[in-house]
Amino acid sequence: MKLGYIINEGVAGIRRSKMPFMNSVFSVTIALVLVGVGVLFVDNGLKYIGDLQADYDLEIFMQNDASSEEIQELATIISEYPGVIRMDYLSKQDAADLYSAEFGENLLTLLGENPLPSSLRVTFEENYRSSVYIQAFLQSMKQFETIDDVLFQKDLFNRIQVIMQTIYTIAAAAIFLVILVTVFLTANNLRLMILARYEFIEAIRLLGASDFMIKAPFFLEGGILGFLGGTFAVLIIVGLEQALAAFNVINLPVRILDYPEVILGTLLFGISLSALGVLKAVRRMLRFVA
């Protein structure tokens, strides 16, 4: 039944001090929107760069005299290599067709013989697209005599990696800073909210309320506050995404609605931020009055 008191008081507390409560909700919302926009920005950036990178696969050219068994064997080995998600085989004929399609001449009739090698085009999974890993792969390809050459745009690949790393670092630092500042501001707002309840806390403390009974309703109130702030934040972010799409500013590849775990995370972060913030404020006040 004490649960009844905690719930009643937690909800009534909101009604009794609407302004400070709404202030705090507002501040939590702002905090979460900033964090959410930051996360989306980085996510979209990474996705964009990831797509760019996907165009730069490895192309493995076979020796001209490689038999189809040898090619088959190599293809099996490569397709089982960890991190390879895709492998396309281009036969000599395919290569000639591509050439013809590109240059409008029939290479075979021109030369009487097809000089183009057959090849394997290899795509790596995103997590494996590091320079080091690819280098190791190239190294292990050297042992196959059927391979004539491997085409790999190493410079471009490396440059993209560096850009990505930089964006990642800067964005992470910025997001961290924003989180720090907003958490601080929110905590301050929550403290003001609790300060406005000084009389109540003082009174029930003197009426013999245990620390738990004093804190619990505020903890609940903080949770509700964080949930509201989180919900508003998600709605605002979705709204922003829709607006960007509606005005054709940019077509975001990553959207928050596609990631329920991000929405859940935002809500949980809001709830724990405010519930713990409130708890800390009350604890501080109790230490001060008692």
Partner: protein, 220 residues
């Protein structure tokens, strides 16, 4: 029930209470009498353990001030009803909720709370005021609300601090009558006042204080 042994209390501003020794039994009615600044409120604060002696020991319900735990303080306060000099009513909730608060904190069922609060309000002439807010009441009525809240959970000890200070004679008489009734129903009462008429009119044991020292402890 209440025991003070060689109690000294120093505020940062200088010593204020010196060598207090007294014992109050469970069915007593005791005036704490003295001029302003004598130390009455400080003694009450030590009884409900909001203040601790620098020397000596205060014992309430056989729990000593020197080794009391935080949890025990809450329990002690649940058995003590307090009427504060400044009422400490909650301005943002109605009279009903103010009186009901101690019962809600104890986790009673809503219908139990309702019947107890209504009965107490009848007893103290507050029935028609239950849905009002404190600022809509006279000081006499506020004092009554504060008293009703203090005794709603049938405490073993009732502490009242200057309950007649801001009241006209008629309301003051009403409040003191109500306090005596609480005592008659078996509650230990400690009544702080600076008005000598009170112990004169309704005699009881009176602990008289002058600048932090007990000078007389007997019925006036």
């Amino acid at each position: 029930m209440i025991s003070f042994e060689n109690v000294h209390l120093r505020y940062d501003t200088g010593i204020s209470l010196r060598d207090l020794n007294f014992f109050i039994d469970k069915d007593e009615f005791v005036y704490l009498f003295g001029p302003t600044g004598a130390g009455k409120s400080s003694i009450l604060k030590m009884i409900y353990m909001d203040l601790f002696p620098n020397d000596g020991q205060v014992e309430i319900f056989n729990i000593g001030s020197s080794k009391v735990k935080r949890k025990e303080i809450a329990h002690i306060r649940q058995r003590i009803g307090m009427v504060f000099q400044d009422f400490k009513l909650l301005m943002d909730r109605d009279i009903y909720s103010n009186i009901a608060l101690p019962l809600e904190l104890r986790g009673l069922k809503p219908n139990e709370i309702r019947s107890k609060v209504v009965r107490k309000a009848d007893e103290f002439g507050l029935r028609s005021r239950l849905n009002h807010f404190p600022h809509e009441l006279s000081s006499g009525e506020q004092q009554m609300v504060s008293l009703a809240r203090a005794v709603i959970d049938s405490p073993d000890i009732l502490l009242v601090d200057e309950p007649t200070a801001h009241l006209d004679q008629e309301s003051a008489a009403g409040v003191t009558d109500a306090i005596w009734k609480v005592h008659d129903s078996g509650t230990c009462v400690v009544f702080a006042t600076n008005k000598v008429e009170l112990p004169k009119r309704e005699p009881a044991r009176t602990i008289s204080l002058v600048s932090g020292e007990i000078i007389i402890d007997r019925e006036l």
